[in-house]
Symmetry: C2
Subunit: 211 residues, 2 copies
DNA sequence: ATGATAATGTTAAAATTTTCACATTAAATG
DNA sequence: CATTTAATGTGAAAATTTTAACATTATCAT
């Protein structure tokens, strides 16, 4: 049975393994990976067990094989194209970001904005008028989007995205988007994260139950 | 007993309540707030009960009183000053962000960078050379920092921050920072969040245990 | 007033997630 | 080649978190 947080941890392991491979590791023990990823060795083994990632008794896990397995799980072999809505402060930052610690990879293939002054049809990541958004998504068969528009417009944009086939959304607007149950949403609220850190650092880690 | 996720949810409730107040609500039922915050009514009541936020039987919760209580919990009355290290893409975006849905508020009082071309001593949020960081933090008694430097420098910056009294860190570098146990760290990994959304939207919400 | 109603608050139960314990087994050692 | 060792893999136990049930009580209608 897949545990809710295990996906998140697998991604963390993936990142750590890439770095460990860079450092010359060919195999890794659960306790080393656990230390890197900030979890216990048992958690690593349990997670790997759940996804049938096998190690060698006494020999640990092969870095390459484990990464292969993780890449398979996360479908790194197929194109993962994502569009971005809202080319403002955060949208621009994201568009310049190459994800991954060393496995540099671009996900964003196009951005859309309502403001004509933001448009840039011929850029590496083209910034197109938001009117073209639906057609573009349908044509290219995009299924995941990033919302980086003001909160007031976010639900609207969200509805339009779902209307043209988007199934997963990473949302930076500080609002909980309402969606049909089959749509995957990750509402990221950086203010709340910061306030959480402030709170925990004030009251002490123990009394606030933070990770 | 304080549940790990309850802090996160309280912050969400706070955000929702601010918006509901804007919309003219004076009282709110647990099921309404739950709907807004994306949790069950029972969860709302349970969380509020834990933090001794009281409603009226049949009457729901007073928006104002609840917000007062939340502001007290999160110490909105005292200054919450934060510094930022790394004035690159993401750092710049964050420095221009006024947190909160409507209760606009700035947290970042200064930024530090190693690159001389980034410095701007007289800006609204001054960008200072990173050599001045420790003195600034000690002088102003800052306890929370945001790390937005490349992964390769992040642990280094982190160590320096802790060395001069920082107790809480929001980290954007894709690496798990190693810190003494009393330090509060929130490692945000936007790539992993995106990959998680891609994964879940591919395999379906049910089979991946996402929220 | 008084009873019906519709919400909260809280205790108990269920579900989930993590940790533990240890059997298993591949490698290293002598 | 037998023995020791040091890791994994997993089922069971513990801990945590969420959900459910319902007793309580303020409000509203009569
Ligand atoms: N700046 C940050 O660091 C930061 C951090 C966390 C969250 N956020 C949130 O991210 C969102 C964007 O923040 P920002 O600072 O980048 O704001 P911004 O104003 O700089 O950018 C918003 C962009 O969205 C565009 N836009 C507005 N309505 C649109 C629509 N209907 N369709 C397409 N494009 C539209 C605007 O033209 C603008 O370019 C906000 O909801 C904000 O709360 C920002
Ligand atoms: N750009 C994004 O959207 C994004 C998203 C998520 C995470 N991140 C992560 O955030 C970090 C910054 O990303 P970015 O795109 O803003 O990179 P960037 O290169 O634009 O900015 C990094 C800044 O840090 C400064 N810096 C480097 N070493 C420093 C040091 N020791 N002390 C002080 N300042 C130093 C650089 O001069 C630069 O201004 C990276 O770790 C990146 O992986 C970025």
């Amino acid at each position: 049975m897949i545990v809710k947080n295990s996906i998140k941890r697998l991604l963390q392991y993936q990142m750590c393994l890439v770095r460990l491979r860079e450092l010359g590791f060919e195999k890794v023990y659960s306790y080393v990976l656990g230390r890197e990823a900030g979890v216990t060795a048992e958690q690593v083994r349990k997670d790997f067990s759940e996804f049938e990632i096998r190690g060698k008794r006494k020999g640990g896990y092969s870095v390459d094989e484990t990464l292969d397995k993780l890449h398979e799980i996360f479908r790194k072999n197929v194109m993962q194209e994502v569009i971005l809505v809202g080319m403002g402060n955060i949208g621009t930052a994201l568009s310049r970001y190459e994800c991954g610690f060393t496995e540099k990879r671009k996900y964003i293939v196009a951005a859309f904005d309502i403001d004509p002054s933001k448009l840039k049809r011929n850029a590496d990541i083209p910034v197109l008028p938001v009117e073209e958004m639906e057609d573009y998504i349908r044509e290219k068969g995009i299924t995941v989007a990033i919302i980086a528009v003001p909160a007031i417009s976010a639900q609207d944009v969200c509805n339009r995205l779902i209307g043209c086939g988007i199934r997963g959304i990473m949302n930076f607007a500080p609002i909980i988007l309402k969606t049909p149950p089959h749509i995957v949403i990750d509402n990221i609220n950086l203010c709340n994260v910061l306030e959480g850190v402030i709170y925990c650092s004030w009251y002490g880690k123990d009394s606030c139950g933070c990770e």
